[in-house]
């Protein structure tokens, strides 16, 4: 029990006064001293450590010493202390119980009715929930506007087949694509694809006996690459993380392959992954070649890093 302010202080022989103040240790949050003042101590308030206290009752503190010995305790040097209102000590109120009563403030009469209080609490929450709720859906759609842009299925001219001299050799075709983003003026971006004239064996690897279909977001067929057409175009982006890859001769293997410099994915001419972190083979794109040998492609981009082929552009 903590000593209470204003409780009487008794020495072994007689009552000596009352607890005028209490001193708390700021680190341990425990009462370290009581200050005894009042009658019989010759004026000065004496600072008595708690070790001298024999027992603490609700209104009486019993000290071990005699009243005569009380004078040897030092007087209180008030300047060396501040009140608990002047310094912030964490959790002090929780630990300190030196007042012998409570200070109370009456609840306003209107607030004493519990059903009333709960009703208005709930109604406030209910109205609050609806105040800005009408914004939720429009805001979501507002922010999502550019996220799922419709696919651009334009045919783009990339070059002529007369650039391809040999079978199963990758030839890079660079082209420019006009893009218009939102309100920005039209801009030209440089893109590239790899086209090779595939021998029947390679063609079989690429198509695996089936025509390749390309669809739009609604699932409608946009184009079909027939499996007999020997020209195959691969997207210029590596399916691992989207880097641009190259066609290289590998002296050790004695053959030519597609090599991605970023993380060293290696693909054979049919796009099959020979080595490296690529999750899927190179992505073929829709291609058509007219009678004069002009090649057109649809620029499709697929999500990088996944096994499944998901069109994003």
């Amino acid at each position: 029990m903590q000593p209470k302010l204003k409780s009487k202080v008794r020495c072994t022989d007689r009552e000596v006064g009352e607890v005028t103040r209490v001193i708390v240790d700021p680190l341990s949050l425990e009462v370290s001293h009581i200050v005894v003042g009042g009658n019989g101590v010759g004026g000065a308030e004496r600072q008595v450590p708690m070790s001298e206290v024999q027992s603490v009752a609700d209104d009486l503190i019993q000290l071990r010493t005699t009243s005569g010995a009380l004078a040897k305790f030092p007087p209180l040097k008030r300047d060396e202390y501040v009140t608990t209102h002047e310094v912030e000590i964490a959790h002090l109120e929780d630990r300190l119980h030196v007042e012998s009563g409570e200070v109370l403030v009456p609840l306003p009469t209107l607030e004493r009715n519990v059903p009333r209080r709960t009703f208005f609490t709930n109604l406030t929450h209910a109205i609050g929930a609806f105040v800005a709720l009408p914004f939720a859906f429009p805001v979501l759609k507002y922010l999502m506007k550019p996220m799922y842009a419709p696919f651009d299925n334009r045919w783009l001219k990339v070059g002529n087949v007369n650039r391809i001299k040999t079978d199963d050799v990758g030839v890079q075709f660079k082209y420019k694509k006009i893009v218009k983003e939102a309100f920005m003026p039209e801009a030209e971006v440089d893109k590239n694809v790899w086209i090779l004239k595939a021998s029947p064996a390679v063609l079989e690897e690429v198509y695996k006996g089936k025509d390749m279909e390309f669809r739009d977001q609604a699932g409608r067929l946009v184009w079909t690459n027939k499996k007999d057409i020997p020209y195959v175009v691969f997207s210029g982006k590596c399916p691992h993380l989207g880097c641009g890859y190259k066609w290289r001769k590998v002296p050790k293997l004695g053959k030519e392959i597609f090599l991605c410099p970023c993380h060293l994915s290696i693909y054979d001419p049919s796009g099959k992954v020979l080595d490296g972190p690529a999750p899927r083979p190179l992505d073929p794109l829709p291609i058509r070649v007219d009678a004069a040998g002009n090649i057109q492609i649809i620029d499709i981009e697929f999500k990088a890093g996944t096994k499944a082929q998901t069109r994003i552009v």
Binding site: F120, T124, V131, A132, V139, Y142, K145, A182, F183
Partner: protein, 364 residues
């Protein structure tokens, strides 16, 4: 009483042990409102609500708006015409700014009429005047951002008026314009002021305003015996909060309605030549704009007088108000000077605003 506290109760107890959450909540919410919660007290909370909604819609607009002279107009048009519900977000932001000005006038009037600027609430009043200035600055800076004819020319005229201030006028005008004439520099400066500097300042001052208000306690009604006040006193929560909520809901619905009735439609893109367009500021500056058309304010000194000196003097008067008016009487019906003064000011503003609107026909 549940035998075992559920998860939510455990979490709350955990936080409460460390933060004193329950006591803090009680202190915040159980503020006694003498004389009971009142609808007349909702304007301050409504202002806070409108401000928060402006921040939300403003941030959303920033997802698509580009503050460069090349793209400001195109990006704003994009928001209006292409982005799903973009027209609604922008129109809400636009009408929200008007609502904010109306609410500021309502709140200031309520505080004035209730005499709640008097001792010991002088500091709250002064901080409030600062907030008023910030709200007007918000309206002024935001208006330029769409970069259409209306925006460009309203800003040009407005900054020219500022130029008339003595000594600092030219410096101030050049600082705002970022040069001798309005251009990209102006747009950049207005954007950063509108989007960073003013919001930070407003949040700081609003926090101070609330803190000072809690310290001083609500002034309460200006009439009523202590018994009546005691009988009707209730706590801030739930009753006043509920009234605040209803008012916020009504304000929200009103702004949404205005957004539907008159969505934002831009004029042509800003050009250095005003052409057929007659420059005009936003509606809440119209009374000043009309005032400056009067003959007595013609000429350089006249424009300074009407555009800077008189409004400035009026603001100084408002600031000095709690120190001039020391009478503790708060009943408006017993403060004839205050009542008549308020009516006169409000009526004058109304007359000049309407005159400005009528004046438009004379210009065509």
């Amino acid at each position: 009483m549940s035998a075992q506290p559920n998860l939510l109760e455990k979490v709350i107890a955990f936080v409460d042990e460390r933060v004193g959450l329950k006591t803090l909540q009680a202190k915040m919410l159980n503020e006694p409102v003498p004389g009971g919660s009142r609808w007349a007290y909702v304007f301050g909370s409504c202002l806070l609500f409108i401000f928060i909604m402006q921040v939300v819609t403003g941030v959303l607009l920033m997802f698509y708006y580009v503050p460069s002279a090349d793209h400001a107009y195109a990006s704003t048009q994009y928001i209006i015409h292409e982005v799903d519900y973009g027209w609604f977000i922008l129109s809400y932001h636009f009408w929200g700014s008007s609502a904010m000005v109306v609410m500021v006038f309502a709140h200031m009037s309520q505080v004035f009429l209730w005499g709640a600027y008097k001792s010991p609430r002088e500091m709250i009043w002064l901080v409030g005047l600062g907030l008023f200035g910030i709200v007007m600055a918000f309206g002024f800076t935001g208006y330029l951002l769409p970069w259409d004819q209306r925006a460009y020319w309203a800003t040009t005229v407005g900054v020219e008026i500022m130029d008339k201030a003595p000594i600092v006028g030219d410096f101030l005008a050049r600082f705002l314009k970022g040069g001798p004439t309005p251009g990209q520099m102006t747009l950049s400066r207005f954007f950063v002021i509108h989007v960073m500097i003013l919001p930070a300042t407003l949040m700081g001052l609003a926090g101070l305003h609330l803190f000072l208000f809690r310290k001083a306690g609500p002034a309460g009604p200006f009439r009523g015996t202590p018994d009546e006040l005691k009988a009707k006193t209730d706590y801030f929560f739930p009753r006043q909060v509920w009234k605040d909520m209803v008012a916020m809901g009504a304000v929200f619905a009103t702004i949404c309605s205005l957004a539907f009735i008159e969505p934002v439609v831009l004029l042509e893109e800003a050009t250095p030549d005003p052409g057929e367009y007659h420059p005009e500021p936003e509606w809440y500056f119209l009374f000043l704009f009309q005032l400056l058309r009067l003959k007595i304010f013609s000429g350089e000194f006249g424009q300074f007088l009407g555009g800077v000196a008189i409004p400035g003097a009026f603001m100084v008067l408002l600031a000095a108000l709690p120190f001039i008016d020391r009478s503790p009487e708060r009943n408006i019906f017993k403060r004839p000077v205050a009542l008549v003064g308020w009516i006169l000011i409000m009526t004058s503003i109304l007359i000049f605003t309407v005159s400005a609107i009528i004046n438009r026909e004379f210009l065509d």
